[in-house]
């Protein structure tokens, strides 16, 4: 933008009215300050061809490379997705999907084979994805008690009203209360690599480090401090209706049990959109020699607990690598390239308009 600073100027009082109007009787004369006289020095940008046109070209020149960079990065990310909802009869999980129930005691297992066409070189992140699951529904989102999750003992005994109708079960407070916790994703996913020679190897999945540090250490805390006996602490409460195990049996590792169980924390961080992915496990790169997930055949072993058929939802398992800008998402790259090109194009059009018509007003005089 063109700019110039208008200097503070002298008081423009006309000398046209001389006479007794000296300083003697100027009692009410307003102060001569730049503020009061509205003469504060100011930068006064105006839209001229000299400022707008270069701006368009510069935006174009900056955006297009960024866009290309983003697009290439996104394309280099390897991603594999498999839907295991089991709605179709040929699907291995069809049977499990049909006999769904939140509380069925016998776990239903299904196995899905798949092939990775390309090796996944760096750390691989394993997600579960749900669709048509309105985790952002208002009544759902507010159905939690953060005090309880933060380890507040009184909230453990008397959960917030927000948790209704998952607040009390048989007159015992539910811990963790609320609809979010109640509907926690409870499928178990396991990944096996099938060697070219046919042997299955279980791929080690890391279940820690999938939640935000702040969530794990600040937002969620077990009641009674870090070293308390969780079983005893949670004795006053009961498990959520849909859960198989109480909250203190989520994991054997005390660092990952109770409210600070990372799967739980991840679930409790509700999604913004009805289709979402949540980080499930991390497959860590072993060494530089071998890819984390080599090319080849794999099977996904699912302990099918989580019913989605009722709301026509889908369940997916996603394997993905990560870049500096996150997961695979070509949108930003394309958007940047588009906007950059549009800017460049508009710059040209405006330049043309300016040359054809612009000089007309610049030279024209102001009519009286």
């Amino acid at each position: 933008m063109a700019s110039s600073y208008s200097a503070k100027e002298e008081d423009g009082q006309r000398a046209g009215a001389p006479g007794p109007a000296g300083n003697a009787n100027s009692g009410k004369k307003p102060d001569n300050t730049a503020f009061k006289q509205q003469r504060l020095p100011a930068w006064q940008p105006i839209l001229t061809a000299g400022t707008v046109l270069p701006a368009f070209f510069i935006i174009g020149l900056i955006f297009i490379p960024i866009g290309i960079g983003l697009f290439v990065t996104s394309n280099n990310i390897k991603e594999f997705e498999i839907d295991y909802t089991g709605t179709d009869s040929w699907s291995p999980c069809y049977n499990c999907a049909q006999n769904y129930s939140w509380n069925s005691s016998t776990p239903c297992r299904c196995t899905l084979p798949f092939t990775l066409e390309q090796p996944f070189e760096s750390n691989v992140f394993m997600y579960y994805g749900l669709s048509n699951f309105y985790q952002n529904h208002r009544r759902y989102v507010k159905s939690r008690d953060d005090s309880q999750l933060n380890g507040d003992l009184s909230s453990l005994k008397y959960p917030s009203k927000e948790c209704e109708p998952y607040r009390l079960n048989e007159n015992k407070p539910i811990a963790p209360c609320g609809a979010i916790a109640n509907s926690m994703f409870n499928d178990t996913l396991e990944l096996y690599y099938i060697d070219p020679n046919g042997t299955q190897t279980l791929i080690p999945l890391m279940k820690k480090g999938i939640a935000w540090w702040t969530d794990k250490h600040v937002k969620f805390r077990n009641p009674g401090g870090s070293n308390a006996n969780l079983t005893a602490v949670f004795q006053v409460s009961t498990k959520p209706v849909n859960w198989r195990n109480p909250v203190y049996e989520l994991d054997s590792d005390p660092e990952n049990n109770g409210f600070i169980n990372e799967d739980f924390i991840v679930w409790m961080r509700t999604a913004a959109l009805p289709t979402f992915r949540k980080l499930y496990r991390i497959i860590q790169k072993k060494n530089n020699m071998t890819p984390t997930l080599p090319r080849g055949n794999y099977t996904l072993e699912v302990v099918y607990n989580y019913p989605v058929n009722s709301f026509e939802g889908r369940k997916r398992m996603i394997l993905s690598t990560i870049s500096w800008m996150g997961g695979k998402n070509p949108f930003l790259g394309i958007a940047y390239i588009t906007v950059g090109s549009v800017c460049f194009f508009l710059g040209v059009v405006l330049l043309f308009i300016h040359h054809k018509y612009g000089n007309r007003n610049n030279s024209s005089d102001i009519p009286n």
Partner: protein, 1208 residues
């Protein structure tokens, strides 16, 4: 804005008549009259909170937010925490309450001060000092000099002869001149005797309390005698006793029932057109809000029906609620969420902006008038932006356009003109400027030092004792009705008309000093020699005669008649011997008239002793005649004023105020039409019209409508229109009625070729303002460039303003200085009072006031334009930012099952309007200027867009809404697609609700900030601070609210812990912010640039021009004196009031020589209300403060009454 309309105070039965018995508290007490304690305060400690809150919730905006709050408390509906409404509402209520409290404390303080003033009350036969608040109706109080009048009193007696008292009514009506009140003789006889006053048992029966200051009716019954009482013997609270040692009065009305307090009612509430537009828009927005909510509620119903039932597994749901009821609840939930389309801070911000812009007016040094030490004042702080939309200016003449100062400028004596200054060498006439050396009158110790004359040849002529010159000045010194006064050895003249004062002062400086007068004689000091002339008769001025004469006998015994008057009249009465001189003088008169000077012709004649004594005899008879006295006198005057000998002519300048014609020219360029509404005569008004460039010689035509019957007036108006637009019939000139149908019709502007002027007289105006003809008048008048209405009454002034207001969709401004302008000032959209000339009444009822007419151009072209521009920019941006903010929720609804989930953090919703975006836009609305004041004045055309409401209208509003719609789409969908199925760079979830909220709100904050930066054309340091500060504030507050510490404190309120930290370290977040900001602004930039290139507005052009010039301020305008050549002439050196010749000759005024003010004259029997304080009483040859004048309306009326009485 009160819609409760409750009146808590139960009015006691309406009083119709008041009965008071003096010195009888018990009797008076039975009527429960108000005591003298006043209470202007509204609250006390206990009632403050409830009352103030009650009052505040009467404002629709506040009540609306209260309703929202109630909705939010209902759990089934509440979609937002209560604090999102409570925080802003509390803030607004607190600020207002604090302001009200401070105001009320001040009122308490002043009440206490007033109530505790001491008064001397006669109780039980002795005078006791009592507080004012304890004074009761029926008490007798004693007032002393310079004391305030305690309550409305019936004057009983005074220390002065004739039971007179002198009062100043400055507090009541702002006029500083003294007024006379007189007690009844019966009560006056009691004098100062406490015993007799204590024994006074008079009973007063009078009207009930009312607010009419000029009227009082009642009777006093005492000793079985009835005496009528009128305003003459009533002292009103608020006056001050002056020049009177003491007086006694009986309290008639006390405290809140006094006329002063009854007059305190607030004048009509004015609103700006933006306000009215806003009301429509707010209604529209409400409709729109409801529509959006209905759409979403229906969506919710459908969703519940199909999806919701299936989603039961995870979404908690109460069984008994069907989709329909659920949709109903959702409707209200969305009302709460989307309420930000009408934010509470809008109203508060508008008030702040108007207040700020009002302060700029108060602070403007260029609208400060040093001579009277008056800065401009914005008395109403709610009308600023209206100043930028004025299309019609209605101006008073005297005191507004003119200074009401007459200066003796030129004269023609015996065929020779004086007054012009010629260059010694080139013999060219020089322009008289301030730095020229005036003639030195030091030889004359009695000369008025303020009088200035530049042509020394006249003084030489006097010193050479040229006979004609001497008789010229002798005439001026003798033939007048001026009252001399010696004040601190200074000779001061009290003249009825400033013209006369100017002439007598001229004579005084040229060595013919009028010293003193008695009813029978005039004493003048003629070149140092004192001479006393016998004053034998004054042939007074009136409107028909247009001349006045005196008959005097010189000390030598010569009998002469001196006459001065309008040229046409005098010329008919001249002796045929002076025909040659007549021709020369006529030439001079034309010359004078051409310069816009007011002329008078002087003539004299010597009288024959015998003839005169016979004439005098007949004069005496006629004077005492009971029938047809006026006619008889007129005949006698005609007879003696004959065969006069011409001496010469005077030329007086009715000085225009500084810069009037420049201002008018500027305003005309800004397409503002100026109508002059004056009480003056047609000739005077026309003359001033020419002098200040309103009427011009080169105008195509100036129509003069001065008919005396409705038909002829109609015909004249039609003829004028036919001439301006030949062939225009009675075509449709109404803009088609609006959809609402009940709007008043609007008369379209009609364009004409050429400039026309219209002068219409009061008589014709009276006909033209009647219902059937007002459109004729309006159409004709609006086709003319200039309209001058003369001889209009204050009521007509208001009617004219109302007429234009009614049929033209235009903003009007009335400017005036006198009490007679009050009605028009109140009627117009904006009233401007000129202070410091004629009392304070006009100023007191005005919205803006300043000391000089020329400040009007600055008020309108600079302050008005800026205020309007700022307000419009503010509104456009404000709507934009709030709509954008709100619409995002609308889009989100489609992705959250229409569940009334918000996109943003609740803290952000609560603070968005208050903290993150309020200051930058306020900064814009307080500091923005497209071009500086100098250029604003240089190009008055910049004002035109305001008149056409270009900057903010329904269309502009729709554009804002569309722009917001676009921006909200960008702001929702860019983040949506960015996070959709995407991950953070550490592999964790990116699309969680809280991160998405933080991302969207960051995008929004940055985008509206960038948009503001694009709108802001004047970046002061404060703006930088506000813009960057607010942006910084957003991040600081966000991080603070999401900090660990606050979460530990109250986990439920700060659920967003850590979100900011975790999402803002992502590249993709920042890339999204950048992308949305660019995308939001891009279309605006393109649109603006294309318009600047293809169809630049005047603002763009001027700004571009300014940019190209290196200096930012235009060269100060050259104030060229506009010379005009005209053959017009007028001879009105008299005011149009009846002269006060008989007062001069009556002996009463000499009774109290101590009272030297002209205003102290005891009203004579001839007209009870006649005081020589008419419009032109105060005369001063320079800029010294004028005597304040009385309201023109009453004098007019009283004059009528006086004539009426005398004929009875």
């Amino acid at each position: 804005m009160s819609f409760f309309g409750l009146d808590c105070v139960k009015k006691k039965e309406k009083e119709t008549e008041r009965k008071i018995r003096a010195n009888d508290r018990e009797y008076n007490h039975s009527f429960r009259y108000a005591t003298n304690a006043i209470k202007t305060s509204k609250y006390n400690l206990l009632t403050f909170l409830p009352l103030n809150l009650f009052e505040q919730f009467q404002r629709i905006a506040n009540a609306y937010f209260l309703c929202l709050l109630v909705l939010q408390v209902i759990p089934a509906i509440s979609s937002l925490s209560w604090f999102t409404t409570v925080v802003p509402l509390t803030l607004v209520l607190t600020v207002t309450a604090v302001k009200d409290a401070i105001d009320d404390i001040n009122r308490h303080r002043s009440d206490r001060k007033v109530n505790n003033r001491k008064a001397q009350v006669l109780i039980d036969g002795e005078l006791r000092s009592e507080r004012w608040m304890n004074v009761q109706v029926g008490d007798i109080i004693r007032l002393e000099n310079n004391q305030f009048v305690t309550a409305d009193l019936l004057l009983l007696s005074s220390s002065e002869p004739l039971n007179l008292v002198y009062i100043e009514t400055a507090e009541l009506d702002g006029e500083t001149n003294l007024k006379v009140k007189q007690a009844l003789t019966v009560t006056g006889e009691m004098g100062g005797s406490v015993e007799s006053l204590a024994a006074f048992k008079g009973e007063v029966c009078c009207e009930a309390p009312n607010n009419r200051l000029d009227r009082f009716m009642g009777t006093l019954v005492w000793k079985e005698q009835k005496y009528p009482l009128d305003n003459q013997s009533v002292l009103l609270r608020g006056c001050t006793l002056r020049n009177t040692d003491w007086c006694f009065g009986l309290v008639l009305f006390a405290g809140p029932e006094t006329k002063l307090m009854q007059n305190c009612g607030k004048s009509s509430f004015k609103r700006t057109s933006i306000d009215r537009l806003m009301n429509i828009l707010v209604l529209f927005i409400f409709g729109f809000l409801v529509l959006m909510c209905i759409i979403l509620a229906v969506g919710h119903g459908i969703w519940e029906n199909y999806e919701g039932s299936k989603a039961m597994g995870f979404v908690p749901r109460t069984e008994d609620v069907g989709p329909a009821f659920s949709a109903f609840l959702t409707f209200w939930s969305y009302i709460i969420i989307l309420n930000t389309v009408v934010p509470i801070s809008l109203y508060v911000s508008m008030e702040v902006i108007r207040l700020g812009n009002s302060y700029y007016i108060n602070w403007d040094r260029l609208m400060y008038y040093g001579r009277s030490d008056t800065p401009a004042e914005a008395r109403t702080t709610t009308l600023n932006e209206e100043l930028g939309q004025i299309r019609y200016v209605f101006s008073d003449k005297t005191g507004t356009l003119t200074q009401n100062i007459m200066t003796f400028n030129k004269c023609s004596i015996n065929g020779k003109t004086y007054g012009d200054v010629y260059d010694h060498y080139t013999d060219q006439r020089l322009e008289i400027t301030e730095d020229m050396i005036p003639v030195d009158f030091s030889f004359n110790s009695l000369a008025d030092p303020k009088f200035q004359f530049y042509d020394s040849s006249l003084l030489e002529a006097v010193k050479l004792e040229m006979v004609e010159v001497q008789s010229f000045f002798r005439l001026l010194a003798l033939c007048h009705t001026v009252m001399p006064e010696e004040k601190n050895k200074d000779l001061v003249y009290q003249a009825q008309s400033p013209d006369e004062g100017a002439l007598v002062t001229a004579a005084r400086n040229f060595g013919f000093v009028f010293r003193s007068r008695t009813p029978e004689s005039l004493t003048i000091v003629e070149m140092g020699v004192q001479r006393t002339f016998d004053l034998l008769a004054i042939l007074d001025f009136n409107n028909v005669r247009k001349r006045m004469s005196v008959i005097v006998r010189s000390p030598e015994g010569r009998l002469s008649l001196y006459c001065k008057g309008a040229d046409t009249i005098i010329y008919q009465r001249l002796h045929h011997s002076c025909s040659k001189l007549m021709e020369e003088t006529t030439e001079h008169l034309n010359e004078f008239a051409g310069e816009g000077l007011r002329t008078l012709v002087l003539a004299y004649k010597d009288l024959d002793e015998a003839y005169f004594s016979e004439w005098q005899q007949r004069h005496l008879e006629a004077n005492t005649a009971l029938e047809e006295r006026e006619e008889k006198l007129n005949l006698l005057y005609e007879e003696i004023e004959r065969d006069l000998l011409l001496i010469g002519a005077t030329a007086i300048e009715d000085k225009l105020q500084d810069g009037v014609s420049q201002t008018i020219e500027q305003l005309a360029k800004a397409d503002i039409k100026i109508w002059v509404l004056t009480g003056d005569k047609q000739e005077t008004a026309e003359n001033i019209g020419y002098a200040c460039n309103l009427l011009r010689e080169e105008m195509s035509d100036v129509f003069i409508v001065a008919a005396h019957s409705p038909e002829t007036v109609r015909q004249e108006l039609r003829d004028a229109r036919a001439k301006m637009r030949p062939g225009s019939g009675e075509d449709a000139f109404f803009i088609p009625e609006s959809i609402l149908g009940n709007d008043p019709k609007v008369v379209q502007d009609e364009s004409v070729n050429g400039d026309y002027g219209l002068v219409i007289s009061g008589h014709s105006l009276a006909f033209a303002l009647e219902g059937s003809m007002e459109l004729e008048l309006l159409r004709t008048a609006c086709m003319c460039k200039t309209v001058i209405c003369c001889r209009v009454t204050p009521l007509q002034k208001a009617q004219v303003v109302e007429l234009v207001k009614r049929y033209k969709k235009a903003v009007t401004l009335a400017i005036g200085d006198g009490a007679n302008d009050v009605s028009m000032i109140k009627a117009a959209h904006i009233g401007v009072g000129i202070s410091g000339q004629e009392g304070m009444q006009a100023v007191l009822s005005s919205d803006f006031s300043f000391a000089q007419f020329r400040f009007l151009q600055r008020l309108l072209l600079v302050h008005g334009r800026w205020s309007y521009l700022r307000m419009c920019k503010f509104l456009r941006y404000f709507f934009y930012k709030n709509f954008t903010f709100t619409f995002v929720h609308f889009w989100y609804a489609f992705f959250c099952g229409f569940s009334a989930q918000t996109v943003y953090d609740e803290g952000f919703i609560a603070l968005y309007n208050l903290v993150y975006t309020s200051l930058p836009v306020l900064g814009m609305a307080l500091f923005d200027q497209d071009v500086n004041d100098g250029w604003s004045l240089q190009y008055p055309q910049l004002y035109v867009p305001g008149q056409l409401s270009r900057y903010f209208s329904k269309t502009a509003f729709m554009k804002c809404a569309l722009h917001s719609c676009y921006s909200s789409l960008v702001l929702f969908f860019i983040p949506y697609f960015t996070v959709y199925d995407s991950m953070r760079s550490d592999g964790k979830q990116l699309a969680d609700y809280q991160s998405f909220a933080v991302l969207t709100q960051t995008c929004l904050t940055v985008a509206v900030c960038v948009q503001l930066s694009l709108d802001l054309s004047y970046w002061t340091a404060v703006n930088h601070l506000f813009v960057w500060g607010s942006l910084g504030m957003y991040f600081i507050v966000t991080f603070t609210m999401q900090s660990d510490g606050l979460y530990q404190l109250h986990p439920k309120s700060f659920q967003f812990v850590g979100t900011g930290r975790n999402s803002m370290d992502q590249f993709s977040v920042w890339l999204t912010v950048l992308l949305t900001a660019v995308l939001c602004v891009l279309p605006v930039l393109v649109h603006r640039f294309i318009f600047i290139q293809l169809n630049p507005t005047i603002n763009d052009t001027v700004r571009f021009k300014v940019r190209r010039k290196k200096d930012q301020r235009p060269a100060p305008q050259r104030r060229a004196k506009i010379r005009r050549s005209s053959t017009r002439r007028s001879g009105y050196a008299f005011s149009h009031a009846q002269g006060y010749g008989d007062l001069v000759t009556s002996k009463r005024f000499l009774r109290r020589p101590a009272i030297t003010r002209a205003t102290a004259f005891n009203p004579t029997g001839r007209s009870p209300a006649f005081k020589p304080t008419g419009r032109s009483a105060g005369y001063s040859p320079s800029n010294k403060a004028q005597n304040s004048k009385q309201e023109a309306e009453p004098t007019e009326l009283q004059r009528y009454r006086a004539v009426h009485d005398s004929t009875l």
